[in-house]
């Protein structure tokens, strides 16, 4: 029992240490030439353009279900008029960044862990080093920056889709159109709310990609190892988002 606690603690500390080192290296290598533009563009497309459908559907249904739940609840004390405000605030500040981020963790973080992990177990990472290409600079830096840049853009689009989804549901499905729905939304949602969501999305993007790459680089032992790394990337990426979300909310508001 004590043995287990000790081992787990050591293992955890090891992991946190190695992850911190990777973050440090990523920051340092970001400023160093050569900049891997080609790899960066490829990742921007992978992460950004190809994740749009997933984030859009997530935002759409989150907006609709939120409208459905709140509209019914608020109507009980004739406060339907506040649904747009609640919808806007909840989606922009919290739901779209977190849920969208977690979807991207599942889609992008896992793919990064699998790709980098496979490279690791087939000696491609060693080959990079032998050819004097720093794996952090060549693989991690473009992935982390691409995700950190693209996730806020995705989330911004998701914000709009989510709010529109709520409006659509109330107008067309519940059949109780609210004139000036969007005006009501923007009456309550400040620029600060929007930017806090963007800051969160940027941070979540960096977390998802760095955890994915970290798990990939730490992969050991063949196909099984790649599978484990992929799972760990999604689980830890998602947990990272939830924990970071709490602290960011605390700091930003």
């Amino acid at each position: 029992m004590f043995n287990w606690v000790g081992k787990t603690t050591l293992h955890l500390a090891d992991g946190v240490g190695a992850y911190s080192v990777l973050i440090g290296q990523t920051m340092r290598q970001s400023l160093r030439r050569p900049f891997e533009l080609r790899e960066m563009v490829k990742q921007l497309e992978q992460v950004g353009v190809n994740s749009l459908p997933v984030v859009a559907v997530t935002a759409l249904f989150t907006g609709m279900v939120l409208a459905l739940q709140t509209y019914d609840g608020f109507r009980r004390f004739q406060a339907e008029g506040y649904v747009p405000a609640l919808l806007g605030l909840a989606l922009v500040r919290e739901l779209v960044p977190v849920l969208g981020g977690m979807m991207v963790a599942g889609r992008v973080g896992s793919a990064m862990a699998a790709e980098v992990g496979t490279m690791k177990v087939t000696s491609q990472i060693d080959a990079l080093q032998v050819m004097a290409a720093d794996p952090v600079q060549f693989l991690v830096v473009p992935r982390v920056w691409a995700t950190a840049i693209m996730l806020p853009l995705l989330i911004a689009i998701g914000d709009l889709i989510g709010i529109w989804g709520g409006q659509f549901l109330i107008t067309s499905v519940l059949g109780e159109p609210q004139p000036g729905f969007m005006d009501r939304v923007f009456e309550f949602v400040d620029a600060k709310d929007f930017w806090s969501g963007m800051i969160k999305a940027f941070t979540f993007g960096a977390i998802v990609a760095s955890v994915g790459c970290y798990q990939g680089l730490a992969t050991r032992g063949g196909a099984e190892g790649v599978g484990k790394a992929t799972t760990a990337a999604v689980v830890q990426g998602s947990l990272g988002i939830l924990v970071a979300d709490f602290f960011l909310t605390k700091v930003l508001f």
């Binding site: 087939t122 000696s123 080959a127 080093q129 004097a132």
Partner: protein, 256 residues
Amino acid sequence: MTVPLLTLKGIRKSFSGKPVLQGIDLDVYQGDSLVILGGSGAGKSVLMRHLIGLMQPDEGYVLFKGANMADMTSSEVYETRRHFGMSFQEGALFDSLNVFENIAFPIRRHRRHWSLAKITARVQECLEMVGMPNVAKLMPSELSGGMRRRVGFARSIALEPDILLFDEPTTGLDPVMTSVLNDVIISLRTQLNATSITITHDMSSARAIATRLAMLFQGQLVFEADRDAFFETDHAIVRQFVEGNATGPLTEALMK
């Protein structure tokens, strides 16, 4: 006396308490074709990784042309690695890039001013040296195991290295392909006038390419000699390995 190109002194390395290398001393001279023999799990790959600085020894040091690799800054290490061309067991080609881009990769990293035409010419030259002039547009997944290794060779010679390292170049290939690869290795070495270090447990390949051999056993180099002396020695471990006998000191050590 000439200075050895590469010197290993007292290299020790263990992984989570389990010793893998237990004091390796080795000198490699210009023009050698050294073959390091050893059974599975003898530490061959680990030794290879130390030669090129992918792993750092727990004790001991590696000298390249008299300079200690452990004292170098990371940019000096990268600069030193340019003198090495390493071929990995399964080729380790980047599977997201086609054959041309794989071979062009080290050139693009190290010869930034080269024009595309110059790079293309060099890639073609490398592919011809390994006898595969028509595969530049293929993806690694479209190649057979032997072809992939040859592309790996081509990539490793792209920067005209002084030292060629081959990590089990013929393992898992059929006898014909093994002979083809042996010939490629020999011709690369003569054409580039390079030194080569090969680790393998394939005796036919060792016989074909070696000028000097060393036997790695339980993390130590137990015997080292020139080609003819090596194959004629009475050293019990070497004899068993060369002849492939089921009984002898190698199998006794396994039983313990």
